[in-house]
Amino acid sequence: MADPRMIVVGAGPAGVRAAQTLVEAGLRPIMIDEGRRDGGQIYRRQPEGFARSYPQLYGTEAQKAKDLHESFESLRPHIDYRPETLAWNLTAGQLHVVTGGERAAVLPYDSLIVCSGATDRLLPVEGWQYAGCYSLGAAQIALKSQACSIGKRVVFMGTGPLLYLVASQYVKAGAQVAAVLDTSPRSTRMKALPALAARPAVLWHGLKLVAMLRSAGVPLLSGISPIAVTGDDERGVNGVRVRDAQGHEHSFECDAVGLGYHLRSESQLADLAKCQFDFDRPSRQWLPRIDEDGRSSVPGIYLAGDGTRILGADGAEAAGRLAALAALKDAGRLHAAGEMPRLRERLTTMDKFRRGLLQAFPWPHQLASQLPDRAIVCRCEGVSAGDLRTTVRDLGAQEMNRAKALCRVGMGRCQGRYCGHAAAELVADAARVPIEEVGRLRGQGPVKPLPMSMPLAVGEHA
């Protein structure tokens, strides 16, 4: 009997462990990844020719990064690895891909393991469209992958562990950090400590980062409300204004802002595959449904890693292996099935911690309704908070796809990645309905902008 054709999408921690598991079982999966190199985001590799060591790049996670990269290197001869390859659409049993923006192929599959990772999750603030305003992840990538700071004097704002991690990485690298501004109040974080104790090493590390920033003299404010990123149309960002927990205004001069509120799962392929989504109350976002092993609601489609639930890199590695074991089991190629209960337990612990993080650093959804009418929500199309409110109140839009059709929110190049969540909060607030009732932007291909120079696809047969 021929081997089942399996494709892994994503060469980050989840994808690498999934592919490794399939190879162990004697298969030769296809692994596709958009990037030039393996590693995903957390373990993003620097380009060839860069000299920094693993501890310099990955700090306390240096050994894990090294292990993952070395695993991939051993894996490489045994898989059909296609970097710089975008899965831009899929139909039943067929993945539509493009490599280097110019070679199109249709890859048939029996099982698809989607490890598509995550992006930063953003809440707009007035002025965030100015040049010099970046996501937290962007600030980290500039440093990790290009040894650059995003500006001469950087303010970091938002919430989540990444806020403190990136800020401390910048301080260590010799960049000027003007302030770290957290929307989450200190008391909220305190209350979450019991849940965060599910992963004591991670918690301890986080507390050390905060202490390090404090001893470096970086102003740290908690429980803030962003007021505006100030700037100039041509020169870009020149400052940040916030209101503290007591209601006082603070201003910080800077030429760059790193902004982010946790992470947002990249779930477009799951959506195009018609996987069922459920509203996840702790994170206030729609996530694809999975069983305890990572099976989606569509037979043959498995989901693992941050593209499904934000469990972080360790969780992604476990989820990738577990999903691959499930796919093997379902394909009649039983392998290491005895490991599955332990992996499930590990993920349960990770999920406890995930909830703790969400409790400690909640998505400040109420800030969306406080945005002034003139604040831009959809950066790509220039749609303001006022435009969205008008669309609800005057044009009757009560859900996201209607709002999109009528005011263009989410119609731009980023396809709703950075505006979708905040727009949903605004629509729900203006329509006075619960957030889950406004739904989510319907997935449409292509998953990312597709070059019109693309040729017809070559159909490949395993």
Binding site: H96, A405, L406, M411, G445, P446, M452
Partner: protein, 388 residues
């Protein structure tokens, strides 16, 4: 939901462009109207089509209706307070083959008799005006007063205008049954609402065939999904709508640049569409085939990126002619559905004509070619809509 009942003069089933414009024009004639829409106004074919507002290329007997509609498009702001982004940019149909050049020249001669003035351009004349055409394009036919509009906005705008004029437009209201008893039609809905009226107008698009079949007037109609896409914005420079006139299905592309700069495109092969799921998906291979064709028409389009593709459910009649006019069997019953993917431009005209027909008993615009009685002799078994 509690059971509620409404009595009115005309009940309209289907809140697309046909239904909402009919509701608006009936109100303008003082006729009480209730419009029932299963989802949201304009969500189906009315909202997913290409947005062409063109008379050029139509089946000639359709031109009187198309002229009447074009006149309304030009007056939308004063009529409904919204322009639906209609602009009279002109429309150019280009050809690759000499035989097709002859065909569009003949059409230009014929269309003149039907009140449509077209200009024929040869190779160099075409490029003088529109330099972006690729080398395979040998000429074209230009209709100066055609144009395009935004299909996502048009039906909702008519719906709001109909409401302002006093129509009851009820969304999220699925019609379960339309029956005629003695004088009145009785429409029952999923939420328990019942609407009775002496006149019923079926504007339910691809789902209209099931409703006409319930009155023993089945029609040969299949649902299909258009293959649509849109690019990123680029500076505005392509003014007219561009289409290819060809006998080869996959070559038949069209595109239009909107003022914001994006280029909307469609045409070529269609996709299966599902009446039950009310959805159609684009076959990704058809999108790639479209890109190939778009580069033939205008090579520079190859520099851009596609941001989004979509499809929807359109109803296609076997003879490519819509169903419009009175029922042939049931008094007080009227139809306007199955516009074969070319109904957008006709929408305002269809609404006005149906309103005139219902209110006055006759219309000045000839629509006999669209009457449902042309299928009266077709046996019922041959007209079952196929869910591909």
């Amino acid at each position: 939901m509690s059971s509620q009942s409404l009595k009115t003069a005309v009940v309209i089933v289907g809140g697309g462009l046909m239904g909402t414009s009919a509701a608006f024009f009936l109100r303008r004639r003082g006729v009480p109207v209730v419009l029932l829409e299963r989802g949201l106004v304009g969500q189906q074919a009315s909202g997913v089509n290409f947005g062409n507002v063109r008379r050029q290329g139509r089946y000639l007997p359709q031109l009187p209706l198309a002229h009447r509609s074009r006149d309304i498009w030009g007056r939308l702001p004063e009529l409904i307070g919204h322009d639906a982004e209609f602009i009279a940019t002109g429309h150019v149909r280009v050809v690759y083959a000499e035989s097709q050049m002859a065909a569009i020249e003949q059409y230009a001669l014929d269309a003149k008799h039907w009140g449509l003035d077209l200009q024929i351009f040869g190779r160099s004349e075409l490029r003088k005006r529109l330099p972006f055409f690729g080398p395979e394009v040998i000429g074209g036919s230009y209709s100066p007063n055609d144009g395009h509009a935004n299909p996502r906005l048009a039906a909702p705008a008519f719906g709001r205008a109909a409401k302002r004029e006093g129509a009851q437009v009820i969304e999220n209201c699925e019609v379960l049954n339309v029956e005629k008893s003695a004088q009145d039609f009785r429409v029952s809905t999923a939420g328990g609402l019942t609407v009775t009226a002496p006149v019923a107008l079926i504007c339910s698009g691809a789902w209209g065939g099931a409703m006409s079949a319930a009155f023993d007037e089945p029609v040969p109609m299949v649902p299909k999904g258009p293959t649509m896409g849109v690019t990123e914005p680029l500076p505005y420079g392509i003014v007219p709508v561009v289409g290819v006139s060809t006998r080869i299905e996959h070559e038949g592309l069209y595109f239009r640049q909107v003022k914001r700069g994006n280029i909307v495109f469609g045409g070529g092969r269609r996709n299966p569409a599902y009446l039950d799921g009310r959805r159609a998906n684009v076959n990704p291979n058809w999108t790639l085939a479209q890109l190939h064709e778009l580069r033939r028409i205008a090579p520079a389009l190859g520099k851009l990126n596609v941001l989004r593709t979509w499809s929807g459910v359109e109803g296609y009649m076997d003879d490519d002619i819509p169903i419009m006019g009175p029922s042939a069997k049931v008094g007080g019953l009227y139809y306007a559905f199955g516009f074969c993917g070319h109904g957008f431009q006709l929408g305002p005209g269809v609404g006005d004509v149906m309103a005139e027909l219902i209110a006055a008993g006759a219309t000045s615009t000839p629509i006999e070619p669209f009457h449902i009685h042309r299928f009266a002799s077709v046996p019922a078994a041959a007209t079952v809509a196929v869910n591909a």
